[in-house]
């Protein structure tokens, strides 16, 4: 299998080839769905390669394969006695293999679905090219073998997200959402970069082992172990700050509190984009960064507390907003933020692979939910939950798919989400003894279970149950073409069976890296599962009571809960707050800077201009054209020279004569 892992770079390369072909020749390929089938083909090849690598890594426990090329080498100088190299390479280890499977499989499924969903849309070559570029960057990010390469592809992924969110660029809300996404994640990216700098400072020279971490190109691994051994990791304040910076970067990309504001607005992009980027892959990159850092670099215990805190708070906080939202895509978007919070929580508690396991299952059932929602939107033409209704008769496959996704999300056995989510809860619970500070966040996560089940089934009931649509003007439901149905079925299979994969011996190898899943469940774990199941069941029941069978639950205008409802609908006024900061704070600074630019800097330049103009004007008047004036100048000069000579004469005579 070692030979195969050396070819891992072919996965991103396949996508790049698709990008180039579709980008250049797409407009001429009308019969190939404007390049769509080429992208799907490349996606298929990449999926096969990716799964092979994933399966291979699962069956080869503890084998990490590192392949790299040095693209810059500086001779020894200063703090680098052995020279300094920068490398580009791939690292196949359990973390990256797991992520690779997610990226390539969900990528292929979404590409196939796009053929049907985006049919007859405008700008399709651009769409498929951008999707292929995104997949190339995402798979490269996952396979990156050093921190700088990781950051490079992280940025490219953000760029593609900008392109794809703003795909319908002539819609002002879409263009604005794309900008917002890029800027908010930028805040995180700056923090990430600072974190890289601090790690560089922490782990250079004598502290780094094996000749220096930075000098070796910031690589993650050496042989089958992290490059930076645990004994080398420092625990000082600077290390904590570095961890906070990395957390900031991850929070930006994964839309965690307080940088979560861009994800709901990112739903302006096509639903397939939401499924791929904002459910399964790009937002997962932030979680992956946390995983990478915890394994290869190191978090201090204060960092862990912060991570747990942010994860726990986000989980609950996002779930509350999903509870009232009328737009089906945005409900699912908040769900994503909430579930990412679970993963972050797990990693902070020290259970990296448990968090990644949830990432694995979540990718599939979240993509399933998005694609099912896309199927509905494609048929009915609206995203407003309150205009839908009664679709389960006309769209049985979609209704079943959405229900399966919802059950998986709620953590109902035997669906995938149950295994991973309960693992997180069980793992975090087991740390509560030694980390009592984690209690509130654990309870928040537990509460979110109830809310999760409620909001997703509220969406299901509003969309599918009842006899007819709430809005008579809504179009009738119908299932999509096979290119849309097959992906749904495939993802259903993963949502159902994904959890059971853990019982395969190979998967245990993949997942038992670091703190693993307890191979046997104890009594407390079963109790906890029972509690979460009860919460989920309660949530579903409440949703049925309020929204099932075509019922519409209206909150009385005078009800005490109305202000709460407004708060949630307005997303806790976060966006308004950020806009205010931007308008008042940043704009004031910008105005001041503009003043300096116009009056001080430009003023200086104009001042020089005026000075020279005046000077030359005066000088020009000396050339009067009158001979007598010129003669006067000659005479004046002559007198001046003589006067000078008279002054200087004594000194000249001293040097020339003898005194």
């Amino acid at each position: 299998m070692d030979g195969l892992f050396g070819w891992a770079f072919l996965v991103p390369l396949t996508y790049v080839v698709a990008f180039v072909i579709v980008g250049l020749a797409g407009p001429r390929l009308a019969r190939l769905e404007w390049g769509g089938w080429i992208a799907v083909g490349a996606g298929g090849v990449a999926m096969v390669l990716g799964t092979l690598i994933g399966v291979g890594e699962a069956m080869a426990p503890g084998q990490w394969t590192n392949r790299q090329m040095t693209w810059l080498h500086l001779p020894p100088a200063g703090p680098f006695p052995n020279g300094f190299s920068l490398v580009m390479g791939t690292l196949v280890d359990p973390l990256s293999a797991l992520m690779l499977v997610v990226v390539t499989v969900v990528g292929f499924v979404v590409l196939l679905y796009s053929i049907g969903y985006m049919h007859q849309d405008r700008g399709l070559p651009r769409y498929y090219a951008e999707l292929s570029l995104f997949l190339a960057a995402m798979s490269s990010l996952v396979l990156a073998n050093n921190l700088l390469e990781f950051f490079l592809f992280w940025e490219i992924v953000g760029l593609c997200s900008y392109f794809l969110i703003g795909f319908y660029y002539d819609k002002p809300s879409a263009a604005s959402a794309a900008k917002e996404a890029f800027l908010v994640t930028r805040v995180g990216d700056v923090m990430f970069l600072l974190g890289i700098f601090i790690f560089f400072d922490l782990y250079s020279g004598a502290n780094a082992g094996l000749g220096g971490w930075a000098a070796n190109g910031f690589v993650f691994a050496h042989g089958n172990a992290p490059f930076l051994s645990a004994s080398v990791l420092s625990h000082g304040t600077l290390a904590t700050v570095a961890g906070i910076m990395i957390l900031g970067g991850a929070a930006g990309k994964s839309a965690q509190f307080p940088l979560h504001v861009w994800l709901p607005d990112a739903m302006e992009g096509p639903t397939t984009v939401s499924a791929l980027i904002h459910a399964a892959t790009m937002v997962a990159a932030g979680v992956y960064l946390l995983a990478i850092t915890s394994v290869f670099l190191g978090f201090t215990s204060l960092d862990d507390l912060l991570i747990v805190g942010i994860g726990g708070v986000t989980t609950f906080f996002a779930a509350t907003m999903a509870v009232v939202h009328p737009d089906i895509k945005r409900v699912i978007a908040y769900s994503t933020i909430s579930q990412l919070g679970y993963m972050v929580l797990a990693i902070g508690a020290g259970f990296t692979m448990v968090g990644l396991y949830h990432l694995f299952t979540h990718a599939f059932f979240k993509a399933l939910l998005f694609l099912a929602a896309g199927s509905v939107i494609h048929a009915v033409g609206t995203q407003d939950l309150f205009k839908m209704g009664g679709l389960k008769r006309s769209m049985p496959l979609t209704a079943a798919a959405f229900a399966i996704g919802g059950l998986a999300l709620s953590g109902v056995p035997p669906f995938a989400g149950f295994w991973s989510k309960d693992d997180i809860l069980a793992s975090v619970y087991s740390t509560l003894g030694s980390h009592p500070a984690y209690w509130p966040f654990f309870l928040l996560a537990l509460g979110a279970v109830f809310l999760t089940a409620y909001y997703i089934f509220r969406a299901w009931f509003l969309t599918f149950s009842g006899d007819r649509a709430r809005d008579p003007g809504a179009a009738h439901g119908h299932e999509g073409p096979w290119t849309m149905r097959v992906p749904l079925v495939v993802l259903c299979a993963f949502a159902v069976g994904g959890g059971l994969l853990v019982f395969l011996p190979g998967m245990q190898n993949l997942l038992l890296h670091g703190a693993g899943i307890p191979p046997t469940y104890g009594a407390t774990d079963l109790l906890l599962s029972a509690v979460s199941l009860a919460l989920a069941g309660g949530g579903i029941l409440l949703a049925w009571r309020l929204w099932g069978n075509g019922r519409v639950f209206e909150l009385a205008p005078s009800s005490a809960a109305q202000p709460m409802r407004r708060l949630l609908l307005n997303r806790y006024y976060f966006k308004i707050g950020y806009d205010w900061i931007g308008a008042k704070g940043v704009a004031t600074v910008a105005r001041a800077a503009d003043f300096v630019d116009v009056y001080v800097i430009d003023g200086t330049v104009h001042g020089f201009e005026r000075a020279f103009a005046t000077l030359s004007d005066r000088a020009r008047r000396l050339q009067s054209g009158f001979v007598s004036d010129y003669a006067a100048y000659v005479v004046t000069g002559l007198i001046a020279v003589f006067a000078l000579l008279l002054l200087v004469a004594p000194y000249l005579l001293d040097h020339v004569g003898g005194g």
């Binding site: 050339q623 009067s624 054209g625 001979v627 007598s628 010129y630 003669a631 006067a632």
Partner: protein, 106 residues
């Protein structure tokens, strides 16, 4: 050099120079301008003659006098050129008023 400082020849050549300078600076008639230039030049030539009279050796005295003669020739040449310019100016502008020839400027 006993007579150098006492005799008033320096005053004479100085006065001639001043007259010539005044003429250069103020005359508007081109011919009168040439005359003034000539006066100033002759003042300088006078100086050569004067210093040659007090020369320490006969050779340097001869040198001074012959320089003066050469310079007179130069002066004549220069006046010839100047008169040619007067004629050209008159042909171009119909006047020999120097104040009307002001095109040598930006």
């Amino acid at each position: 050099m006993s007579g150098l400082a006492e005799s008033g020849f320096l005053v004479l050549s100085g006065a001639l120079l001043a007259v010539g300078l005044f003429g250069i600076l103020t005359r508007r008639n081109f011919v009168l301008l040439l005359i003034a230039i000539e006066i100033a030049m002759n003042a300088a030539i006078l100086n050569f003659v004067y210093f040659a009279a007090f020369a320490p050796t006969s050779a340097s005295g001869l040198a001074g006098q012959s320089t003066a003669v050469v310079l007179v020739g130069f002066a004549a040449t220069e006046v010839a050129v100047g008169l040619a310019i007067v004629l050209a100016l008159n042909r171009a502008k119909g006047t020999i008023n120097v104040a009307e020839a002001t095109e040598l400027k930006l």
